[in-house]
Symmetry: C6
Subunit: 71 residues, 6 copies
């Protein structure tokens, strides 16, 4: 399924809400990597995750397995 960067989609809106609220998330990648931090921006190709040390990581969407927001 070719996915879309359509701001009306629930999945895109959910990420936008996570960015606005600065919630802690867990981002699991197909490489097996697990990133922890806050989402700071998203575009059509990528997401950016900022960790507790203000280190930012640009993640390619193609590499996303799942995102979990911490309760």
């Amino acid at each position: 399924m070719k996915s879309d960067f359509d701001v009306a989609l629930p999945s895109i809106k959910q990420l936008q809400t996570l960015i606005k609220e600065g919630k802690q998330v867990e981002v699991k990648l197909l490489s097996g990597d697990l990133l922890n931090g806050k989402l700071v921006w998203q575009d059509k190709n990528c997401l950016c995750v900022m960790d507790a040390n203000n280190q930012s990581t640009t993640v390619w969407r193609q590499a996303l397995a799942y995102i979990k927001s911490k309760n």
Copy 2:
């Protein structure tokens, strides 16, 4: 095969039924992760799985290997 988010497709309807019925499912990802819970929504890019602790996980479709509904 570029897949489609066409609500008439058996695979999309099956997920919709699983969401409505709140059935327990097992979701296996290409990262090797195995998630257990109920499906709560789907859109063109993602599925959302809610586990027994009400922790929700947004899964990217590109990462799906299989879904098994528990008998």
Copy 3:
């Protein structure tokens, strides 16, 4: 190569034959999982495999490595 769900393609017809004949198959996924059972349906996005205990598993085509029909 973007593949097609074109019922005239040998690969799609082969699966259709396997479904009709209820042959035992081995389905290997890119996640490393190996499923055994009968194919029960296919659509543009997915295949469904039913095992000996009537447990069905919906497999995403993107996850397919190979299918072997048991002689």
Copy 4:
């Protein structure tokens, strides 16, 4: 790069030659599997490999890493 099933492409013609000549090949998949045998057909989605015991395996193109013809 979205690839093509264009019979004029060197890569498609090479597979066609391997099929006609019945050459032994080694097919490596992204799942890590290594298949040995002869190519018997190809279409837009799949290749079929027949091993020494006449067991055929339908391989999805998306899973191909490389093909080596044995000298």
Copy 5:
């Protein structure tokens, strides 16, 4: 999500800035490989990473998991 090589996208501009500033980056691939060096060019298909020994590596975008710029 089919991504774009659109120079107005934040993700493409970010890489362009990293190239101009010659910042040290860490490039993680879906193969598990981790490359260290400076980005020297990008195009629609690839990125090029130059390490401390002036060895350049051409990375396919499809293989990108994440890029981290060193603080």
Copy 6:
């Protein structure tokens, strides 16, 4: 990002130069395989690598992680 087989792209021209100059390259695949040899041709779907024993391997572009030319 759907990539292109556009001969004006730096990445395609770089491979063409490596083919003409017969340079030794290291080709890393998403399957984890590492191939050593010279590039002998490329098309839209594949690259061909010839090793020191004149064994040629046809590599699918979808499987490419990186290519490094030996200094």
